[in-house]
Amino acid sequence: MKYIGNKLLTMLITVLIVTMLVFLAFRVIPGDPVSNMLGTSATPEKIERLREQMGLNRPLPVRYIEWLRDFFFGDMGKSYTYGSSVRSMLASKIPITIVLTVMSFVMVVAISIPLGIYTAKHEDKWYSKAIDAVNQITMSIPSFFLGMMLTYVFGLVLRWFRPGGFVNYKDDLLGFLGYLVFPAVAIALPKAAMTIKLLKSSVLKEGKLDYVRTAYSRGNSTDGVLYKHVLRNALIPVITFLGVTLADMVAGSIIIEQVFSIPGLGRLLITSISTRDYPVAQAIVAIIACIVIVINFIVDILYKLTDPRIV
């Protein structure tokens, strides 16, 4: 209980720091929502009047504390550019990004765990070496580039999907999931390659330890040792890595959303920054920070479950 309490406290402090940084960052970069709204019809007087109307002239700490208070009560304010409530806007975008992240995470797990074990088991065989080589290449391709390649090959040449043919989950759930497959692959492949490599080396390392020799000497079969003893220990670093990866994938989906023109959280974040739509940008950053923290929290708990010795 104390453990969870501590974690929650860290979480609160992190969100505080992150949102404060966002507030400051917007203060530092030039331009503000008013100049975006008025565009080329702006005059210094008009800007001043609108800033006053929108309450942008009030001191920064006051605005920050007010925003924080509202945020914790679930009120994220109104978007400057869209005039609608940030909450409803995010509500329609968050599922897109979450589904994309979860889908690619499932792919990572489904590809890397079996392949990692397999390559470790058949370490000396040529096909295992071939997988290693492919792995090495996949690992070094950035996902946005992979995304562009996938769009070109499967979208334009083979026509398995229509680039930009995103359909909203509200209109057509299957079409929506179908469109996300290739973006998810683009995010998943490099991460899967890394996980395979890690799992393989982790299994091999564990395999050389004393307890494994003891297990063999007691007459266990190879598979028995592998799945009952080695894997349990070998998975610990992999779980840590997957945790970090999942958090990383939330951020990675922002870039992939641009490549595949998916109107998710990432795209909204980028445009809200360029139009200085503070309420939207702040809310998204805060939410992403919360998601990352929650993931780390879950990883910590999984740790304890896999290895009870960890306190």
Binding site: T43, S79, S261
Partner: protein
């Protein structure tokens, strides 16, 4: 337990991959066109608050004013069926057309018209986007079918302002024009999803020629994906494609070439050294080679210009100014020497990084200016930074940008060079110009007025207010299924005229 998990995972994986093959099918058989636009409508859906040209060109399909522009640059009646001006030029009497309906089904009343004009003129407390509307004294409802607008001073351009999207007629009883746009245009607004799309449908009760295609989607594309999505068949039409990009598009499209209707120039901050010296500015004009810019950065497309006016303006345009400063390095060096810059100088060109054509132009300019000893460097900034630093802050040395005309008036292009104009971002100041401008505003005789406007253009050219470059070519790829794309001399898109080929 673990086995079952693996099973579920693999089922999910195969399922998702199998479903991947199902995408790309058509939904419904009704007519539909998808138009790719490079940015979302980020200012407002209220036409009276639409500042960005990209917003106005979309809203043009939803809203109309009492008058509206046609493709030849004439003003044609829209919500009004005709208008008269009193002899003193101060009162405009608009007779309303019978049976014009808003998209919500209500008829347009004289009260709605009065409300719209007053709102767009800033008389109800909001900011007005049409500076010339500060000249409106009062708007009177004379009868159910007539609205009179009384001006303080005569203004021959008044009908052109009335025809702009920013002066559209909207219903008085709509409490939320920002989020629920209701107009009288050929398309009615249905819904939007931020950063995804804007959905419209043809309006069955439109008073004029109804749109041919029922469903219209404006799809928001970020720069890089536009071409991919065109080639992939997701979008049927897009505008403002450059010559370099058009080469990458295959044969599935009909490509129309038009002009962007803007004045692209190296705009100079006339207030700071060394650009406060006309000889320096002239030297820069001689130093650059417009044709080389077109060849290097625009595949040879575009029309060179010599003043703040583009060819679509017809009677005001002066082709003879195009070659006022032929490429002449010797002359440029001589002028620089006269001005005391024999060894050249260093300068910064600030360019908005999201406008590739302007960035490309700046790169060619740097090389060309180098030949006469001017050492220019490029500073790429974000659009919002450009707006606040360059445009409103006027804190810059030079910038490459295209200036468009927000209404069909010479004033939209030339008014900004009046020394005390709000939007005079180049800090141009010339007493002779101010005098000509003031006179032109008061002149009712069209010939005399045209003459004054031409004198202003000539003055800008002779004084080398800016290093004028070109009116950029624009390409419009449209899916071969469709026809009827029409260019306007203004920054608007008229989707209602597009139809399926027979």
């Amino acid at each position: 337990m673990r086995k079952r998990l693996v099973f579920i995972l693999s089922v999910f994986l195969t399922l998702t991959i199998a479903l991947g093959g199902c995408s790309g099918r058509k939904t419904g058989d009704s007519s539909k066109i998808v138009v790719g636009i490079p940015q979302d409508l980020e200012d407002s859906l209220d036409p009276h608050k639409a500042t960005a040209a990209g917003t106005r060109e979309v809203l043009f399909n939803v809203f109309e004013g009492l008058l509206k522009p046609d493709e030849n640059g004439n003003l044609i009646p829209a919500v009004a069926k005709e208008y008269e001006v009193t002899d003193d030029g101060l009162t405009y009497k608009f007779m309303l057309r019978d049976g014009v309906k808003f998209h919500n089904g209500n008829p347009v009343t004289a009260e709605d018209v009065k409300y719209s004009i007053e709102k767009s003129a800033g008389m109800t407390g909001e900011e007005s986007l049409i500076a010339a509307f500060s000249n409106i004294k009062e708007v009177n409802v004379v009868s159910d079918a007539e609205v009179d607008v009384v001006l303080n001073e005569t203004d021959v351009d008044f009908p052109a302002y009335i025809a702009s999207v920013n002066a559209s007629v909207i219903p008085k009883d709509n409490a939320t024009p920002d989020t629920t746009p209701i107009g009288t245009g050929p398309y009615k607004y249905i819904s939007r999803s931020p950063q995804e799309n804007i959905i419209m449908e043809s309006f069955d009760d439109y008073w004029g020629n109804k749109a041919s295609i029922k469903n219209l989607e404006f799809k928001i594309e970020n720069g890089d994906s536009m071409l991919m999505d065109l080639k992939g068949g997701t979008i049927d039409l897009t505008m403002h494609i450059s010559a370099t990009q058009i080469k990458q598009i295959g044969d599935d499209f009909d490509v129309h070439e038009g002009s962007m209707n803007l004045v692209q120039a190296l705009y100079l901050n006339n207030k700071i050294k060394p650009f406060d010296d006309a000889r320096v500015r002239q030297a820069m004009c001689y130093a650059i080679d417009k044709q080389a810019i077109l060849d290097l950065a625009f595949e040879g497309h575009g029309s060179p210009i010599g003043s703040s006016m583009f060819p679509s303006f017809g009677k005001y345009y002066m082709p003879e100014l195009e070659n006022k400063y032929p490429h002449d390095e010797a002359k440029a060096k001589e002028l620089l020497k006269e001005a005391g810059y024999a060894d050249g100088f260093s300068m910064t060109i600030t360019v908005p990084s999201n406008y590739t054509p302007h960035v490309d132009t700046a790169q060619v300019l740097v090389e060309q200016l180098k030949t006469v000893g001017i050492n220019a460097s490029i500073n790429q900034v974000e659009w919002n930074t450009w707006l606040s630093d360059v445009y409103t802050g006027r804190n810059y040395e030079s910038t490459v940008i295209g200036v468009d005309a927000s209404s069909l008036t010479a004033d939209a292009l030339l008014g900004r060079f009046y020394s005390s104009a709000d939007n005079n971002f180049i800090n141009y100041s010339n007493e002779e110009y101010d005098r000509l401008y003031e006179e032109s505003r008061k002149t009712l005789d069209d010939n005399r007025r045209t003459e004054l406007i031409k004198q202003m253009e000539t003055l800008l050219s002779e004084d080398a207010a800016n290093v004028y470059i070109q009116d950029m070519a624009e390409f419009v790829p449209i899916n071969k299924k469709f026809e009827g794309y029409t260019f306007y001399p203004l920054y608007v898109q008229d989707i209602s005229r597009i139809k399926y080929k027979d």
